[in-house]
Subunit: 783 residues, 2 copies
């Protein structure tokens, strides 16, 4: 099994150098050339793109690594993907997948001939062409690398439950400075060598960022080694500016790393796991922009930050630079790389893996191909048996936890739950009946629910949780992220980037198959963080996502346990979506039987006739709500109004799927204006109690008929450590403020003064006896 | 200067133990007690709070550290602040500031007597009282610690340019798992031992989070040491579960650390800096929840995650637990700590620093006290001398850079600029004429603009930039963060937390003085990231912030260079705000002379009469815009309309300060409905071209008169690698789509078909010759 290290033959070296020249030539060609891809004629102004875009600096390093990985894959039939941390090095990944043939496989218009080359070059960073980054369009990619920091967590996510997969993860020394990357190194404490695959990090120490040296390159080698060992890795160095020396070092390093990986895995799989393994990694220290221009206008370019993007620009204005470019391109000896038809003749056969093993074609990087639908249990066995509306106090997320436990049981190796040390706090701990929390580090006898093969993944890094889950989904498996609502904002930019990925992959890249949706349970939400205070009170994430691509984003506010079950069952069956479910974990009243809940959640919103006192098409007032706590308050307000104004006809509306409020022209879940009018009328005042910021509703219903009749109560940025009910009062989302607003909106009221006084009295009583409410909301709804 | 280590006398030990008992007693009292603070009577049900909230686990460790720091401060007159990473350990910081007297100084109603004690206990985590976290209400705090990860970057931010200050930063081993914290360790490569103070990190290895062990506690000690040394620190271990042993170890460790800090500083200040110093840090490994209940219901509590919050609850329901609590409280021997009046009699005099040195009273933690207003240069010398409107192409941020350079020159030690490796890319590099980039690591001859005493701070971690700047501001100095617009989303949750801090500090904590505002320049914005593609195109941050407290948030969209100067000058003089300025870095046309710009920016929005063709109070059409690129398109659209429909009266409106659109009842910058009507009329169609998502405008003008006449163009989540103009076309924010929309809104148009056809032809031409636009927008405005 062990691969023996060997001295590379001169043929090996030649072959590697030819491959590298080819990949570098193809990369420079993409950045610069519009035409004349084989340099059959001297380069002219017209051959060069008018706008020069792209990132050269990282590219030769990415190419060199790809060449060596290919050699290893071809020789040893490894199952490997390439995660490109320096994702702006898009030219490299396009070049390598073109060389291996996977690019032409996915893009048949671009073949390995002169016209294919011309297209390949022209399309790069060109209107209507391909992005300059390792975007969804690029075969083999699961990491965009525009927003840096997520390569390593993506790589780990991809290998969980993929025991035969190696994710080689190139980490730029710029990206290594980011927080998310710095945290993700610790993922090795969550990797099971028996049932997971392996990640091989390659830290590419090329020394410079856009305009600065990197920290990692300017600390002593000893210190960097300590850091990487401290993270739990065994670093293997590949360090030289002599390319042939680098080839030998890299070949040895990769063999050493793969042997070490296989030894760890074989031991774990045959003898069991006794302790956390020390996984190998590689540090590759080579010059930035290697083989590019040494200098330009007397300033160093190679091995400097000046090679980061396009080493020299404005070629159309400065024709002498065209000669520089031509010399650079010819330094790769294109005549030895291609024949006159553009066919590749470089002697690189040993470096091209068979089709199915090519990294550009690895199905793990197009996870939808491998996706197996979740086995979805029915919700009936888990549902609350509704005795009478409002009489049972149940923790919705606890019941959801029992359901998720069954999903976990039915879907071994295909489903994981992620969270930042909050799964139990979020009441999902019934999961531990079926599986444990992953923990591949020291365990003590006193520990509970920790195991090397656990499938609930907890690390106190929202970034790492999100990155793991994204990697897991992108490689075709299913999962759910549970988080305190306030702190999911920590990953709002990651969610944005994932939404962009889904949008492009599903709409613009026909060979990418749908992948499982990214599912969030946001709990311990703004209305039940009274004890932790203002820092824990923020419903901004839903606003943030509500602006993203309508075909991607879904936002659910189940009002009770059965609705939460119905929504959970629904979202777990979707693909290519970001589903956000907001639901509290506290004991709260129940409103709908499970069949009602399923119907209601399928519709997304609807009239609750049992809570209305009229079936009239023209009610005097509409009380509406979205969110579990707002539903309680809206029902309580309705009850007060019924008692005080028995002749007032009130319609009660609940919204589960908030995007139903959007115009049907702007969101696929949006209802028509006719439906909107049927539910909200177009003349009665609508008092709407909403979980989040009122502004989110305002902008959704901006053009709706009768929108000027809506009066929205929600979070108004008032928070502190107090009682749950006081949180509502502070933000005027409580029943008394709802009643006051309703009364103020009704015309010709005789009793209004008395009711308003009474509500003010209730509020005064609340302030006086604030603690009487205790942990709970006032209990005056259905008793 | 060197402090000698010494064996603690038995008196020292007694004193430290009494202090610790006192702090622990006060902490437990806050969590549990409503009354009977001195335990004069046996505890009863009524003495215990009905809701038990708070975090015990981290508290004894925080108390122990505080005691030892106090001893050191009292003996050696150190200037020190205490940054509490485990900020949920609020009881500890309240207890210690109460003991030293700073709490009573700020809150005179809470004195060191029985009634003061009773108030102190009752108010904690109590409605109308103080939050459970180290919030702005707590003296000495500059870090909330609800959202974990920012303690270390805050600590570094506080000591930049504060050469005599030591920020001791307690880092929980939970927080240590987060990305932002993991990145912030590298701040030591940016700390100048001559002109900055020192940070003393104390990693509190108490082993557990809410429900899990911590990674740092479950890797071998050798590995953890490697990690910390790899981060560039010299760890000193304090490790024991025998408290007297811990006292000696901690005393020695602190002396060693402070000696090392002073040695580094003295050498740097007398002999100059030759290399990056290796700063000391402390690892304190003690049991979580130390001195609390050993176990509860046969499960371990001390030294377990079960001590994280309130070790046992529901005392009112289970009276036998009241006895457990009483025994716990009495274990601290309160009768030795207080006399019968509640005066502290514990023998802790040696552990209380003189008033001005108390950490609760250190002015650096109430930075407004020390704040010196920036010296603000006039903008006249930097302004664009407007030749004719639209004829000069200038990079607005480049000119801003010249202005900032002058601000930097005038305000040595009081102003810094922060950015993630983008300062030059953002065209602010004229700053380097005045100062360099901070770099306290290896330098090479080929480096440019790096210096140990540089004042532009670049690290490829938005989190660290933001954390440094927040620490710098909270300690009373000024700064600006420049960032690509898309990637500022990475710190949107940090900005939220800072907004919360400012809101509470400015509105609810009367002793906190105003601090300098947090200023963002967002550039390389969504409309000029055509080259980097979709991952770099996101205007979501402004939406995110627009929901936050209106008294805190300000959003500016200067349309040209002079407006950017005017806005910059304005925001640098503000306090307690988050100012966001969005402005492009590319060459763009100029519209206003500097005096016009200043007036326009002071008003926040206004009619541009020179761009309108009518002064009528009833124009046929209003073209409005916010943002530099939208302004270009709106002007171009206006020109086309003028040419095609010379009889059409058009009013042109530009909005700089977007919050002027908000109701004056909801935002202090909001204009009245009358003013709104005067500017936007209430019947003419308004075509508004906006920099960000249209939804943001929709929700701002939701209730405005005539809002149904607004038609808003903005970012619609369409992006890719293309030309700048194509980005506009993709999102229908270009001049041709604006014209089309305007024409469609006008009644009784005879020519409309021809104009629409012509616009479609222009768009078709664009698609055909997409590259002819090159790097720039079509040049057809004022030529």
């Amino acid at each position: 099994m062990t691969i023996r290290k060997s001295t590379l033959s001169s043929q090996d070296i030649t072959s590697l150098n030819q491959y590298w020249s080819l990949a570098n030539y193809l990369s420079v060609g993409q950045i610069y050339l519009l035409d004349n891809p084989l340099l059959k004629q001297p380069l002219t102004r017209q051959d060069v793109k008018p706008r020069l875009l792209g990132h050269w600096g990282t590219t030769p390093g990415l190419n060199l690594i790809y060449a060596h990985l290919n050699r290893l894959i071809a020789r040893h039939q490894l199952n490997m993907i390439y995660v490109t941390g320096p994702g702006h090095g898009g030219p490299a990944l396009v070049a390598n997948t073109y060389i291996e043939g996977s690019y032409s496989h996915y893009y048949p218009a671009i073949q390995q001939n002169e016209s294919g080359l011309k297209r390949l070059f022209k399309q790069f960073s060109f209107p209507g062409g391909v992005p300059s980054h390792v975007a969804p369009e690029i075969p083999g990619s699961i990491n965009e690398g525009g927003e840096l920091g997520y390569a390593l967590s993506h790589a780990f996510g991809a290998v969980f439950d993929n025991p035969d997969l190696i994710a080689t993860c190139v980490i730029g020394d710029g990206e290594a400075e980011t927080g998310p990357l710095a945290a993700a190194w610790h993922s090795n404490k969550f990797l099971n060598p028996a049932s997971d695959g392996a990640v091989l990090p390659i830290l590419h120490l090329n020394g410079y960022k856009i305009a600065n040296p990197t920290i990692f390159a300017r600390i002593p080698k000893k210190e960097l080694n300590q850091l990487l060992k401290g993270y739990g890795y065994q670093p293997i160095w590949v360090e030289s500016s002599d390319v042939n020396a680098v080839h030998q070092l890299m070949s040895d390093a990769l063999i050493q790393a793969v042997n070490r990986i296989q030894k760890i895995q074989v031991e774990a799989r045959t003898q069991g796991i006794t302790q956390r393994p020390i996984w190998p990694m590689i540090v590759m220290k080579t010059p930035k922009g290697w083989t590019g221009p040494k200098s330009f206008e007397n300033l160093p370019v190679e091995d400097s930050w000046r090679s980061h993007q396009v080493p020299f620009k404005e070629l159309r204005q400065f024709p002498e630079r065209i000669e520089l470019l031509e010399a650079w391109l010819r330094s790769y000896n294109p005549e030895q790389l291609f024949d006159s038809t553009g066919r590749i003749i470089a002697d690189i056969n040993d470096l091209i893996p068979e089709d199915s093993l090519q990294m550009g074609r690895n199905p793990h990087a197009n996870g939808g191909v491998l996706m197996q639908a979740l086995k979805i249990p029915g919700v009936g066995d888990f549902a609350v048996d509704l005795k009478s509306r409002g009489s049972q106090k149940i923790s919705a997320t606890r019941v959801m936890g029992t359901y998720l436990a069954e999903v976990m049981r039915l879907n071994e190796s295909n489903f994981r739950v992620f969270g930042p040390d909050e799964t139990a706090s979020n009441r999902l701990d019934d999961l531990y009946q079926v599986t444990a929390k992953t923990w591949v580090a020291e365990q003590l006898d006193s520990d509970e629910d920790l195991a090397m093969d656990g499938r609930v993944m907890e690390i106190l890094s929202e970034h790492t949780c999100q990155g793991w889950l994204e990697g897991y989904l992108l490689s075709g498996r299913h999962g759910l992220f549970s988080c305190y609502e306030a702190f999911i904002n920590i990953v709002s930019s990651m969610a944005t980037q994932h939404a962009k990925w889904l949008q492009v992959a599903s709409q613009k890249v026909n060979w990418r198959q749908p992948i499982p949706s990214l599912n969030y349970l946001l709990t311990s939400h703004v209305w039940r963080q009274d004890h932790n205070g203002f820092s824990h009170q923020d419903p901004g994430f839903i606003n943030h996502l509500s602006n993203k691509e309508p075909n991607v984003v879904r936002l659910y506010f189940p009002p009770d346990t059965n609705c939460l079950l119905a929504v959970t069952q629904k979202i777990l069956q979707t693909t290519d979506k970001i589903n956000v479910v907001v639901a509290g974990k506290q004991l709260q009243p129940q409103w709908l039987a499970i069949d009602e809940a399923q119907k209601h959640c399928d519709q997304g919103l609807g009239i609750w006739h049992w809570a209305s006192n009229t079936d009239s098409a023209k009610p005097d007032l509409i009380i509406a709500c979205a969110g579990d706590v707002p539903t309680i308050e809206a029902l309580a307000a309705t009850k007060i109004l019924n008692q005080r104004l028995p002749d007032l006809s009130i319609r009660f509306v609940n919204v589960v799927d908030i995007m139903t409020l959007a115009m049907d022209t702007t969101h696929p879940h949006g209802i028509s204006d006719d439906q909107f009018r049927q539910i909200f009328s177009s003349d009665a005042p609508v008092i709407l109690a909403f979980h989040g910021y009122p502004s989110m509703i305002h902008r959704l219903i901006y053009n709706r008929p009768g929108h000027e009749n809506f009066h929205i109560h929600g979070f108004n940025e008032e928070g502190t450590t107090t009682t749950p009910f006081d949180m509502l009062v502070l933000n005027q989302l409580d029943r008394y403020h709802l009643v006051k607003n309703a009364v103020n909106r009704l015309q010709d009221m005789t009793d209004s003064g008395a009711i308003l006084d009474d509500m003010d009295f209730k509020l005064a009583q609340h302030h006086k006896h604030i603690l009487q409410a205790g942990d709970d909301l006032p209990d005056e709804i259905f008793n």
